[in-house]
Amino acid sequence: MTVRTRSWCGRMIRAATLVAVAALIPLPAAASDTATTPSPPTIKKSVEKIGVRDAAAKPATTAVARDDRQGSSAGASPGFFKTKPGIIALAVMGAGVGYALYSAQNDRIHSPGKK
């Protein structure tokens, strides 16, 4: 059997790796942002300018869920657990958790190898 055990080599590789990882991650950051190119001619230049101005007046990132199609439901209320369905859900959840915990203790097979 042939085994390669050049420990110094391993250390070198690990060191080189560390340097490489450190070097690698910032590299793509060196790539430029989306290039700023002149806007193609449009027929609504004036409207655009208004739009750009209006948009600039708004925060770039907001968390206002104006369309709450996915973001809300009857269960979205902070007081959900005070409602009847919320209480029932909690009760079912509690019963399910309780029995699963009981099972985890009582149905567990304990190998003699772990004793």
Partner: protein, 911 residues
């Protein structure tokens, strides 16, 4: 940035990756939404507010000077996309489905009008015209509405086209697939099979890939199953589900003629009792900022498997929690944890399918799985992902009857005890990081760079003959030997991966270029040495995608790539200490000891080559994907795969003497080989890439040369439509062939076995169609909601060519001069010359729904194998016969039959 500096950046990155000999992958857990805003005259509109609203709030960006916008790092879910600009009617696109690693392209054409009005328009295209990868999604709807159930990744894989018996696109079934759950590699680091079990109700989405996979994916030669689990959102959600069945709801599909051929079939495998419930809830801890999700399952299944075992039981409680934190709109932190314990009684012991209840083992198998992820979006052009994932667990098998068993070589029967003792410990830790950067230079680039480190541990203690450490070898009822054997191994996999990829789009054309480098090492804690040192694995990925219409609805793709297997101690563990002597002690006919023990095969370490290549697969595919309906797409894919650098053991210096053997199938003779110098070379097993190894006779003349191969070609046609309004479906047909001389079933068929150690198994009739070669495959899954009565119907239909098999004959130790414990079967016909029956199966579900506000209640019945067909799935391949449970079973007699009809009832409440 000009193209030169761009090219230099990419080149430098690749060089750095290469120089630093690596391993790893940071598989994407998110997707991208991008698009363009124009007006009705087609002019671009900058400055448009574009909002993406999903289950965990909204994010907004502004279209740039080109009218384009992009959301990166978007978690898979269904979103609403909305564009707003003063002076224009707002437009909204609902049902924007974001999938793993996919780019959804959307376009808005705003009309002049009041901003307070909103127009709903058709959702974005379902076709990713930039990717070179071909995926199949198993949606949450499909999992919930059809009678699909599996608690392992590999089980779910089989619902995708081109994948059967866990063999994906012709690859090895037990370890060829990457099994990822929320980015956690859930494979056993010993052999690569599924290690962790999960609750299917946890799944948000499954993506099955592996065709045209980008460089971020590695560690597979078959398929990739990328599973995303549910998370909490701004709305409280819950699921309370229960399933139940018992043996009174089961049918029997074993015919009298089958029983005549093989009485050991007895009755069909029956689920005597299944009681499975899940309770889960998710919701906000703080709106838009912090969310929780918790799921608890208790799974109990008692079965009567085919064969002598009467009862097998599995009880598994499973606990999952996940916290999702969004400290800012650009940061997402995910912390997940799973604990489960797998408690089994009635598992097969050493005699395998011949085990009786007395020869079974119990299994104690708890595990912890963890997952910490941080995703950071920097502006609209940069996205960082970092993960720490892993698991630790064990399974310990103990025999119910610790007394030694007796094996009768004449009848091939086992009596007495027989449950082996096996203690397996595992752990796996992985750290991954990746950076995605969008940039412009001669087109648009989506650059991704990543690195990954894996450390996984295997501990194995195996006493196959039970705690006594030995069994009795008898012939015709007369004891001859007491035989003892066992082993204890420890091994660590060490992997470092780096990759770089670029999705470079110019007009309608997109180039997907990538390179993945894996540095894999196998370390022996016992030797304190690295014993497995394969060459650096270079995995290039070159793909092209062309948007045929320019509207994002049709794409032509082509791809070449090289994939490498994941880590597995099985490749090299025999090159570490731990194998005990194989000892036989002669016995008198009355069972008393007749003489001193004799070491038949000393425990020794195999040698291992230091010039070895990790197994790999080259893939070339061409695909056309076309959107046919709003949610439906047609995909046609041609696939060619070739696997190489197979690792196995040969016997250095072995010489083989030709002997005349009888083929009992044809009653003719042929030339086999007897190990002529076994006494001097029986410790010279050597692990290497076996290609080119020459088998020689006693005069040194070459008998033949090892030429291991596994090739796959297929034409795959898929038409799928996501569930919308009342119907969703997926229809596929695959014409395929997998052939070679390295089978694609379990690990042991080619690794750790002696296939390439002996010319009998390496050269004689070894080439042909492989076990998992399904010439024709059709799969149809459908979900349909009957209006007015509000009943959901779900169906899964599968039609498959039977699996090939090969007649074989077992010869004696003296004929071949092989050790007692080695394989002495030789194929009598070319591999895969016979084929099992064509297989049909239909499973259906009918569910009556009751809706109260946003609460949905359902009661359902699943009917597995609705028509109770009894297709023979496996046949006895040994010529002329073998003995199973005391019955003589002839060649070609059935040994496995399709699972009989079983009805399962279920109910659930979700909101």
């Amino acid at each position: 940035m000009n193209i030169r500096s761009m090219a230099r950046t990419i080149f430098l990155c690749l060089i750095v990756c290469a120089a630093w000999v690596p391993l790893a992958a940071a598989q994407t857990q998110t997707g991208t939404v991008e698009g363009k805003v124009i007006d009705q005259q087609g002019a671009v509109l900058p400055g448009v507010n574009v909002t993406l609203t999903g289950p965990r709030g909204s994010q907004t960006t502004v279209s740039d000077a080109d009218g384009t916008f992009r959301f990166v790092g978007v978690a898979p879910a269904t979103y609403t996309l909305k564009a707003e600009l003063t002076g224009f009617l707002s437009e909204s696109q609902p049902d924007v489905v974001v999938s793993l690693g996919k780019t959804v392209t959307a376009e808005f054409a705003l009309r002049v009008g009041g901003v307070t009005e909103t127009v709903e328009v058709t959702a974005a295209s379902t076709v990713d015209v930039k990717s070179s990868a071909t995926h199949t999604n198993i949606s949450n709807e499909m999992l919930q509405l059809t009678p699909i159930y599996s608690s392992t990744s590999t089980g779910l894989l089989n619902y995708a086209p081109g994948i059967n018996n866990s063999s994906a696109y012709g690859a090895q079934a037990s370890y060829g697939n990457a099994l990822l759950m929320d980015g956690v590699d859930t494979r056993d680091p010993q052999g690569g099979s599924a290690w962790t079990f999960f609750n299917q109700n946890l799944i948000e989405e499954i993506q099955v890939g592996g065709l045209g996979a980008p460089a971020e994916y590695g560690g597979f030669t078959g398929g990739i199953i990328n599973t995303v689990t549910k998370s909490g959102g701004n709305a409280f959600t819950g699921l309370f589900s229960i399933r139940y069945t018992n043996d009174s709801l089961a049918s029997n599909n074993i015919s009298e003629s089958m029983l005549d051929e093989n009485p050991a079939l007895g009755e069909a495998a029956v689920t005597k009792k299944l009681a499975d419930y899940t309770v889960q809830m998710g919701g906000p801890l703080k709106k838009d900022k912090a969310f929780f999700f918790a799921s608890i399952q208790r799974y109990e299944a008692t079965t009567d498997p085919t064969g002598p075992i009467a009862t097998s039981q599995d009880i598994s409680p499973r606990f999952n929690t996940k916290f999702t934190l969004q400290p800012s709109s650009n940061d997402t932190l995910v912390l997940g944890m799973q604990y489960d314990s797998y408690n089994v009684t009635g598992r097969q012991g050493y005699p395998g399918s011949k085990s009786t209840d007395q020869q079974t083992v119990t299994e104690d198998a708890p595990e912890w799985v963890w997952n910490a992820q941080w995703r950071k979006v920097m502006g609209t052009s940069t996205f960082l992902e970092a993960k720490f994932t892993g698991y630790t667990g064990y399974y310990y098998l103990d025999p119910v009857d610790p007394s030694p068993f007796t094996y009768d070589a004449l009848t091939d029967e086992y009596t007495g005890g027989g449950g082996g003792l096996e203690y397996e410990d595992r752990s796996r830790n992985q750290v991954q990081a990746s950076l995605t950067r969008y940039a412009d230079a001669f087109g648009r680039h989506a650059l991704k760079f990543g690195a990954e480190i894996e450390r996984s541990h295997v501990g194995t203690q195996y006493e196959p003959y039970g705690p006594a450490g030995f069994y009795i070898y008898a012939y015709g009822g007369v004891p001859y030997y007491r035989i003892s054997y066992g082993y204890t191994f420890h091994g660590d996999n060490k992997r470092f991966t780096a990759y770089a990829q670029d999705q470079w789009s110019a007009g309608r054309l997109t180039m997907n270029l990538g390179l993945r480098l894996d540095r894999i090492r196998g370390y022996s804690p016992d030797l304190k040495k690295t014993v497995y040192t394969p060459d650096l694995a270079w995995g290039p990925r070159i793909g092209v995608a062309y948007d045929l219409t320019g509207k994002g609805s049709s794409v032509l793709r082509s791809f070449y790539g090289r994939y490498y297997e994941g880590t597995a101690t099985q490749f090299w563990i025999s090159a570490t200490p731990g194998i005990e002597d194989y000892v036989q002690t002669p016995l008198n006919p009355n069972g008393s000891v007749a003489g001193p023990p004799e070491v038949v095969t000393p425990g020794f370490m195999y040698g291992i080559s230091d010039d070895i290549g990790h197994p790999r697969t080259d893939e070339f595919n061409v695909a056309w994907e076309n959107q046919l309906t709003r949610t439906g797409r047609l995909t046609v894919t041609g696939i060619w795969r070739k696997t190489g650098d197979f690792i196995n053991n040969v016997i250095n210096g072995s010489q083989w003497r030709p002997v005349t053997l009888t083929n009992s199938l044809t009653n003719t003779t042929y030339t086999g080989y007897n190990w002529a110098n076994r006494s001097t070379t029986d410790q010279d097993f050597f692990i290497r890439n076996v290609e080119g190894y020459q088998y020689v006779d006693t005069a040194g003349n070459v008998i033949g040369t090892a030429d291991p191969r596994r090739n796959y070609k297929a034409l795959m046609i898929l038409f799928d439509s996501a569930f919308r309004r009342r119907i969703g479906y997926q229809l596929s047909y695959v014409l395929a062939k997998a052939e070679g001389n390295v089978d694609n079933t379990g690990f042991g068929n080619w690794l750790g076995g002696v296939q390439w150690g002996s010319p009998n198994t390496a050269l004689i009739n070894s080439f042909g169609e492989l076990t998992n070669s399904r010439r024709h495959e059709m799969k149809f899954n459908v979900e349909y909601n009957i209006p007015k009565v509000d009943v959901m119907l779900g169906g899964v239909y599968t039609a498959l060519s039977g699996r090939p098999f090969t007649p074989l004959q077992r010869y004696t130790t003296s004929q071949l001069n092989l050790p007692l414990n080695s394989r002495k079967e030789i194929f009598l016909e070319p591999r895969g010359s016979q084929r099992n029956d064509f297989f049909h199966n239909l499973d259906v579900r009918a569910e009556k729904l009751f809706r109260v506000q946003n609460h949905r209640f359902g009661v359902y019945a699943d009917m597995a194998n609705l028509f109770n067909t009894g297709t023979v799935t496996t046949r006895q391949g040994r010529v002329p016969n073998t003995t199973i449970s005391g019955h003589t079973v002839l060649y070609k007699a059935p040994t496995g039959v399709q699972t009989a009809r079983q009805i399962t009832f279920g109910g659930r409440w979700s909101f």
